[in-house]
Every structure is written in C-alpha cells, then in structure tokens.
C-alpha cells in the first residue's frame, strides 16, 4: 500500500480552479518529484496535502487514512513535515530555537539526540546555533529549514522548491542532502522548477500542467522523454 495516495483532488482559490483532479502515489522510501512550470499547481498540491488548504473534491490518503480535511498542525504529529517555499525560517529566533520549534509536537525525551543528529548532518548549523536565523545565508537557511522539518521525525517530508534562490553550487549541496535524508528511510515528495536536478535524484516523477498530471513515469524515463526535455530540461 502506498504511503500517500492523492486521488482526484480539486482545489480552489475562491473561484479559481487550481487543481483539476490531480492523482498520484508516493510509496514508502521513494523520492518523488513533482515538476512543472509556474502556476501549474505544484505548490497548491503540497499545500493541499499538508492541510493548509482543503480539496473541494477528491481525497488525500496517508497510511490508509483520509486526511483531506485534517488541520495542518495535526498532520505534523502524524509524520508529515513540510519545508515551506522560501524557506520560512523564524528570522528572529536563533538557529537552535528554530530547531526546537521543529520538535514542537514531540513530547519524547530523544529531542537532544535528534538535535545532535541534525548538527552532524549540517555542521554549519552547529557553528551558528546561537545566531539569529535571519542572519544566515540563503543556503544555510535552506539547511536550517530542512533540519527543522526533520526534527519532528517525519515519515513523509514535503519539500517546496528547495533550490529556489540559491547559488548553483549550493543547489548541488541541497540535493545531496535530500538524497542522504532519503537513504535514512524518510519518504520525500519534492516540488521543483529545477526539473533537471530533481529528476536526477528522484525515483519517479510527475509532470503537472495547468492543474493536471500530464505525464507520469520513472525519473530515468522522464529525463529521456522528448516533451519533458523540450519544456523543462531545456534540451532541443
């Protein structure tokens, strides 16, 4: 059974029909890439899954349970964690306080250990743990946002445009990190405009076009797909 099953969801912004029956599946341990142009509905899909928006029709099924109308804050406890677009670190809290916020829903005693894990995954963050998050560089903020999302011990990690606004060198680092997290057993749903990088690390991918799934295939096949190459990879 799939960890996450999105079936025929329709989501609206007021009267604007943003998602027109999007369906896909995410299996445990996979890295899934959602790619598409601006306005294709990638972020809306993530917001619908994470509970920030509610689909008018269709269902989001996570571990066999319909979560379409579950509030966002309750989903965190169920193991779905999101790294919002534009990173969204708490600029006026310190790095360590940001990480503490990530573990907000947990009440077990292992938080200290996970903090250590986070620092070993991102040594830069340990160097700067007493610094305000707003003073970090873009790349460091992205690392912090990911580390913070991991602090809630998610089974499913939703990443919204992790490469946005980063220098190319840093983008490589971010995707390497994503791979490393996946190898530790966290399932990852990745929304990216940078289709090239996303498809390199993903197992499978879905191409969204004006609120619908246009193509779905393995990442390797998508990289060879002519339409995808032309439209998203910039290969003629």
């Amino acid at each position: 059974m799939a960890l996450l099953e999105v079936s025929e969801i329709h989501t609206y912004y007021g009267n604007i029909h943003a998602l027109k029956g999007v369906s896909f599946e995410v299996d445990s341990g996979e890295i899934i890439a959602l790619i598409g142009a601006n306005g294709a509905g990638k972020t809306t899909t993530l917001r619908t899954i994470s509970g920030l928006m509610e689909p008018r029709e269709g269902a989001v099924i996570y571990e066999g349970e319909d979560i379409s109308s579950t509030r966002a804050d309750l989903l965190v406890a169920k193991g779905i964690s999101m790294v919002p677009e534009g990173r969204g670190v708490f600029a006026k809290l310190t790095v360590e306080e940001n990480l503490d916020m990530g573990a907000y829903v947990r009440r077990d005693g292992d938080i200290k250990d996970d903090l250590k894990n986070a620092y070993s995954l991102f040594p830069r963050l340990e160097e700067r743990k007493k610094q305000f998050a707003g003073t970090l560089s873009g790349g460091e903020q992205q690392m912090l946002a990911i580390a913070r999302a991991l602090m809630s011990k998610p089974r499913l990690l939703l990443l919204d445009e992790p490469s946005m606004g980063l220098a190319p060198v840093l983008v490589d680092g971010v995707f390497e990190t994503v791979q490393r997290i996946a190898s530790e057993g966290v399932t990852i749903l990745l929304v990216e405009q940078n289709a090239h990088m996303a498809l390199q690390i993903a197992d499978r991918g879905y191409v969204l076009q004006s609120g619908e799934v246009a193509i779905s295939d393995t990442a390797a096949n998508l990289q060879q797909n002519e339409t995808v190459q032309k439209t998203y990879l910039g290969i003629d």
């Binding site: 994470s50 969204g88 708490f90 006026k92 809290l93 907000y104 007493k130 003073t135």
Partner: protein, 624 residues
C-alpha cells in the same frame, strides 16, 4: 550666495530655524507661560525661562557636533552657536514686535508685503526655469491677487480685534512677561534681554562642545542634575521631607522651590561627582568586569538584596503622595506585562486592553461594595475577589478573542479598538445601570484588610501592587523561554510556518489573549480598591493607548523595558500634573523622538535590537 549654499551654512540655518520654531511653537500653545508657573531655582529662573535657554543651548551644542563632523574649525563652531542663538530668538522677537502697540504697523506692513513677496518669488523661479516673460508676469499677477485676498482678510481680522490674541490666544501678557524676562513695560530692554540670553546660551552650547572631555562630562552631569532636581522640586522635597528634619529642609527649599544657595551647592557637588565619575567610572567598570565569575555572582546577589530592600522600603522613603504615584505606576506595569504577552510575544496588536481593566475593576466594585450597588455588602473581601477578577478578565479576553481569531495585523487592531469602545459604552449605558450604576458608577468599595489591618494608605497598597507585579514578572520571564512562549514567537514570525511546525495557531492565539487579559483584571481590581469608587470615565481608549505606548517606549517584549516605560510615561506626567494639558503633546513628541532616535525602545529586548538594525550582525547570545 555661495556661502549660503555651503553645507555649513545650511546646517546652522536649519538647526537655528528649528530651535526658533520650537520656541515660537511652545509659546503659541501656551507651554512657556504654563511652565513659568513652576520655578526651578527660587527667584532666579522658572521652568518656562529655562525652556528659552535650553533650546539654543542644546541646539548650539548639537550643531557644534554636526559642524565638527563637517570638518569646521572652532571659530566657525562658535559663530554657529551665536547664529543659532539669534535665530532662536528671532521668530519670537518678531511676534513680540507685532504684538506691541508701537510696532503694530510692522504687522500690517508685512501682511501687505506678503502677496508681493510671494508673487515675486514665484515669478522669479519661473523666469529662472526658462519661462516666457509674459507668462511670469501673468503668474505674478495671479499669485499676488490670491495671496493678497488671504492676507487682506487676516489684516481685517487684526484690525477689528485690535491684537494678535484673536488668532493666537496664548500670545498674551503672561507670554510677553516670560520672553521679555519681566520687561513688558520697556519692550526694547525686554527684546534685548531675550536676544542676549538666547545668544549667550547658543554660544555656551558650542563652548561646552569645545571643552575637553572630562570637564565637559562633569558640567553636563552637574547641569543635568541641578535642572532635574529643580524642575521636580516638589517631588524631591516630598522625598526629603520623610528623611530629614524640617529646619534643614527649609534651608534647601522655599516651599517647593530650590533656594539659590542650595541650587549652587547642588550644582557644585554634582559637577564634582560627575568629574570623579568621568575620571574613575571606567576603571570601576573595568575592575568589575575583571573579577572572576563567583565574585561577580556574589556582587550580583548583594545588588539584588539591596534592590529588594530598597523596593520594600520605598513607600517609607518617598512618603504618601509619591507612594500613590508608585501604586499607579505599578498598576500600569501590571497591564504592560499583560499586554506584552499579546503584543510582544504573540505579535497580536490589541488596542482594546482597557476592556480587561474595566472588567476587573467592576467585578471588584460590584462584589465588595458596601454601597447600594454592592451585591453582597461586604461578604466578599478584596482577597476573595482578586482571583475572581482575574478569571472574569480572562473570560472577557477569551470571549473577545474568539471572533477576531482569523484577523491579522491592522484588522485585528481595529477590531480590538472597537471592543474597547464597546466596554466604555456598556459601562455608561442605562441598560446596565441597575447593576453597575451607569454614569454614577459604583461607590463605597472597602479597602483590602490584611490580618485585621485595613490597607487604606497608598504606602500599604504599594505592597499589593509590588507583589502582584513581581508574580507577573516571574510568570512573564518563565513564559519567554517556555514551549508556550516559543509557539507565540513562532506565530509572530510567520503564522503559516508555525502551523507547519504543528502549532494549533487558533488555540495559541486564544491562550495569548486570555493570559494577557488576566493581569489587566488584577490591575483593574487594585485600581478600584485604591480609589474606592469606579466610574465609567476611568475606562477610556487612553488607557489602552497608555499601556501600548509604555510598551513601545520601554521596548517591545522586554520586561525591564516595560517597568522603565511605565515610570517614564505614567510616573512623569503624575509628577508634572500642573502641565497636564500638555501631556499628550509631550507624549506625541516623545514618541516621535523615540521612533527617530531609539526605535527599539529604552531597554530593548535582544530580538528587537536585531530587528531594528537589520543588516548588523547581532551579538551572539550567551557569548562573553
């Protein structure tokens, strides 16, 4: 012309005009005359006259600093000071002339000249900008006629009424007395005295700047202390009265005013003290920092003990009147700490905080009053009702929070502002009159009784406020670093991301409003017990604004800042009661000054300091 266009001249002219405008403005609104009522040094100088001196003095000092930064030499600095002195006096001198019988014609002349001058300037600028000559002449005519009509009507008004007072009501005899230094009869002498003093003050300001560091700091300290003690003479006398004998007091004060000898002695002593501090202060601080941690800790503990003893002994040191002020300050500290939970921690701009204050006050009034409106006529005591007032205020906070949960920012502020007004209207309404007395309010509220003794004086009530504030301060500090406090901070930063962390934002906001309301209820109850009566007109929007202002002035999300803010914004106006009509003017000026010079507040929290100076790397928390 080139000289006038130089940066130096611009600086001097700008600051001089500002200083002149300040003196003109404070005169025209009546501040100078009102401040003249309070003498700073007996039969020597009044607060109003001090204003006339301080303006050119401070501006001269400040301008000297600016000019030095522009690379000017000392003579230029001194000339700058003199110019500023002249410019400070000039506008008021012109007004004096306009106001005098002999020179009234100057006013008429000016009014008649204004249209021509204005039109000529317009036309000249057009011409310079390259317009046709005919065009310039046409504009000249139009402007001259338009401005002429306006000034002609002004002239007509003056002609009919005969003096400036018809327009500027405060340009009256008292004002003339102050600015001419009591030479109303001999105008030439008066203007001479005024101008001379202003010029000397401006000059003295620039000289002070040129002094070597040590004497300068000592002098600033000495002058500052003397002026403050003089201006707050009544307060100082009240404090001294509790602690020294009558005869000595009479040597120092004549009624509420510092005697000349005493002022001189005070000036010398404080200057010497300032000198010593300037010389050895740094050494003292350095040696404090160089001692080891355990020694410093014990010094800190000693300091804390001294502070606690001081706080406990305070009412006996300062006497009844000032204890009363201290209680009022304490009530506002309580409210400030409460409102800070909503504003400082959770970022919810609540402009209706008076609601909780009113609820607390009325609950205490109705439940304990022994008058006709008392529900239980003394069955309930102050101590039993305090928790009820707290709960009632929390309930009110909760109820008002529910409908506004989905609002953010400005919308939230306006909605809460509305709730505050609703409470005021309900309190005065006929509908609730049988319960809370409408405009007559609730009377005969008994004082708290502790161990059989009635706490009827401010000195005793002080301890209730002190304990309540300390409890509240403790809770506030603990909240700052708790899970609950962090969830509020996360919401303040970004509501969506906070949700993504698993925070139930609706619940967190409700909690913030509810807890924030609690201290407001306690403050209201203490206020009701202190005054003994509760009237609806005590619960206006100004309470909310006062509480908000003290948080902003002290420093948002900073607990010590709130205490300081309350002392400055609530305590100072209480001590300057006779100038209460200028209270909000000073409030406004202070807030604007704060926004420009110190937007982070007097004692800012670490976070706000960082926020205000974005781009500057913040000091590492916990780093030595």
């Amino acid at each position: 012309m080139d000289l006038l266009r130089s940066q130096t001249a611009k600086t001097i002219l700008l600051l001089g005009s500002l200083s002149g405008a300040f003196i003109l403005f404070t005169g025209a609104v009546g501040m100078i005359a009102a401040f003249h009522e309070r003498e700073v040094v007996d039969r020597f100088i009044s607060l109003g006259q001090l204003l006339l001196i301080i303006a050119p003095f401070v501006t001269g000092y400040y301008a000297a600093g600016k000019l030095r930064a522009l690379g000017e030499d000392s003579p230029v600095l001194l000339i700058g000071g003199i110019t500023i002195g002249i410019m400070t006096a000039a506008p008021s001198v012109i007004l004096l002339l306009f106001n005098s019988d002999e020179f009234r014609f100057l006013l008429d002349l000016t009014l008649r000249l204004i249209p021509f001058a204005a039109a000529s300037i317009f036309a000249w600028r057009l011409h310079r900008a390259g317009s046709e000559t005919q065009m310039a002449i046409a504009v000249w005519l139009v402007v001259a006629v338009l401005v002429g009509i306006v000034t002609f009507s002004f002239a007509l008004i003056f002609e009919i009424k005969g003096d400036l007072r018809s327009v500027l009501v405060n340009i009256n005899r008292e004002w003339v007395d102050v600015v001419t230094f009591d030479n109303r009869k001999d105008l030439a002498r008066g203007i001479g005295a005024f101008s001379l003093i202003s010029v000397v003050a401006g000059f003295a300001g620039s000289i002070l700047y040129l002094m070597p560091n040590l004497p300068r700091r000592a002098l600033i300290y000495g002058l500052g202390v003397t002026v403050l003690v003089g201006a707050f003479g009544e307060t100082v006398r009240l404090i001294l009265q509790e602690n020294i004998d009558r005869d000595t007091l009479k040597e120092i004060f004549r009624r509420d005013t510092l005697r000349q000898n005493a002022a001189l002695a005070l000036f010398i002593i404080s200057t010497v003290a300032g000198f010593l501090w300037a010389m050895f202060g740094r050494q003292a601080r350095e040696s404090f920092h160089s001692i080891n941690v355990s020694q410093r800790r014990s010094l800190n503990i000693i300091g804390l003990v001294i502070f606690v003893v001081f706080m406990l002994a305070l009412p006996w040191l300062i006497g009844r009147t000032l204890s009363d002020v201290a209680v009022t300050i304490g009530i506002f500290v309580l409210m400030g700490l409460g409102l800070n939970i909503a504003i400082g921690l959770a970022g919810l701009l609540d402009l209706g905080y008076v609601t909780n204050y009113a609820v607390g006050a009325y609950i205490l009034a109705v439940l304990t009053s022994i008058g006709p409106l008392g529900l239980f006529k003394g069955t309930f005591t102050f101590w039993m009702v305090i928790p009820l007032a707290l709960l009632a205020a929390m309930f009110a906070g909760f109820i008002f929070a529910v409908p506004v949960l989905r609002m953010r920012g400005d919308y939230l502020a306006i909605a809460t502002l509305g709730f505050g007004e609703i409470i005021g209207k309900l309190a005065i309404s006929d509908w609730l009159k049988p319960l809370i007395g409408g405009a007559q309010g609730v009377q005969a509220i008994p004082k708290p009784i502790l161990l059989g003794a009635e706490l009827k004086n401010p000195e005793q009530l002080y301890y209730i406020v002190l304990v309540a504030s300390l409890v509240c301060l403790f809770v506030s500090i603990r909240l700052n670093n708790s899970r609950t406090g962090r969830q509020w901070m996360a919401i303040r930063e970004d509501e969506d991301v906070a949700t993504a962390m698993g925070i139930d934002t609706a619940r967190a906001k409700l909690l913030a409003f509810t807890l924030s309301a609690a201290t407001g209820g306690v403050a209201g109850a203490i206020f009701a017990a202190k005054v003994g009566t509760v009237f609806p007109n005590s619960f206006t929007v100004f309470i909310s604004i006062n509480v908000l202002s003290l948080i902003i002035v002290g420093g948002i999300a900073s607990n010590p800042g709130i205490v300081v803010g309350a002392i400055v914004l609530i305590g100072m106006p209480e001590l300057l009661r006779e100038f209460s009509e200028f209270r909000f003017l000073l409030y406004g000026a202070l807030l604007i000054l704060m926004m420009i010079k110190r937007p982070q507040g007097l004692i800012p929290s670490k976070i706000v300091t960082h926020e205000v100076r974005t781009g500057v790397k913040p000091k590492l928390a916990g780093a030595e």
